[in-house]
Amino acid sequence: MTTRIPGPESVLLGSCRRLCQTTDHGQEVEAARVFDQVAALMRVEGDIELLLEIVEVFLEDSPRLMARIRTALERQDLSLLEQAAHTLKGSVGNFCAPAAYAAASKLEKFGREGNVTGRQEAWNELQETMEQLRLALMSLRDERLA
């Protein structure tokens, strides 16, 4: 009943190879801050199909979560800000995206602690990192479809 199905190791190895082939170490580190594909695959037991399935869900749902955060900021609704940023943080966490995760955490903290200063900068940072993540995920999806 609870037998685990091992993920395809070849997928993990392929991703590792691609990363190792990157010549510029700085680019590699930067890319991993946006979306760490190897780590993300480990979160889904190496199942690339499952990863792509949740990528699709994320690409569809994340604009709604961002809109909730924007509404919370506009209304200065701290409780909604904390809740919405927390949900987004949980969502991006599945993709091992430390930059977007940190930006969402910052806004969640603003909502929880009620700080006013720096909220706009945090929102800008979240928008930027989320756009980078969305592009990286779309690129992964398109690469698989090609």
Partner: protein
């Protein structure tokens, strides 16, 4: 085995559900705490629940508290799976009644290992409940054989609580696991032998012949 999962983020809900189904579990998905709370109150409620903490409506901790406050409810093994990772959160979650606590994002192998612990506990609780049920039944039978029983000093029938006189052996059989196997004791066996011999003794034989 059915597992309830409650999570307001649909990406995490889909991921968790897919992984659990891959492992062979039947998954009941809820997108908020109130839905989960409702589903955990039914007679066929899942015995294991994985709850997010922060959800609209009831949060995971409130669902947990509700579960533990209902004394008649069947035991449910609860894992809180949340992005809140501070020590005070872990302590708060466990004090609210969660059996285990995991932080998101999670590693599947860790969740798998913790689920195995949960299933062992569920199995133990289930077997314990069965044993308690059996003991309670046995105890109620024992109690039925306690107290003062009116017994007829001539025919030895006893009167039950419905004012019905019945043979003592049938009364004991009805109120316990004891069964009777009729056979004469040595004294009665001797008496019976003598009576039989008497009835076919010289006098009677003589009378027959006459």
């Amino acid at each position: 085995m059915r597992i309830l999962i409650a999570e307001d983020d649909i990406v995490s809900l889909r991921l968790l559900g897919s992984i659990l189904r891959k492992w062979g579990y039947d998954v009941l998905s809820c997108s908020n705490g109130s839905e989960a709370d409702q589903a955990l109150q039914g007679n066929d409620a899942p015995k294991v629940a994985i709850l997010d903490w922060m959800m609209p409506g009831k949060d995971g901790v409130e669902v947990c508290q509700g579960l533990r406050q209902r004394p008649q409810s069947r035991p449910v093994y609860v894992i809180l799976l949340t992005a809140r990772g501070l020590t005070e959160d872990v302590v708060g979650g466990l004090e609210a009644g969660a059996d285990d606590y995991m932080t998101k994002p999670f590693y599947p192998e860790e969740l798998h290992a913790r689920l195995q612990v949960g299933l062992r506990i569920v199995d133990l609780q289930s077997r314990l409940a069965d044993r308690v049920g059996e003991l309670e039944t046995a105890l109620s039978r024992l109690k039925q054989l306690q107290g003062l029983l009116p017994i007829c000093s001539y025919c030895k029938k006893v009167r039950d609580d419905k004012n019905y006189w019945q043979q003592i052996e049938s009364y004991i059989s009805e109120h316990s696991e004891a069964q009777f196997s009729p056979s004469p004791c040595p004294n009665c066996s001797d008496k019976a032998g003598r009576t039989q011999t008497d009835s076919i003794g010289p006098d009677s034989m003589g009378k027959e012949e006459i």
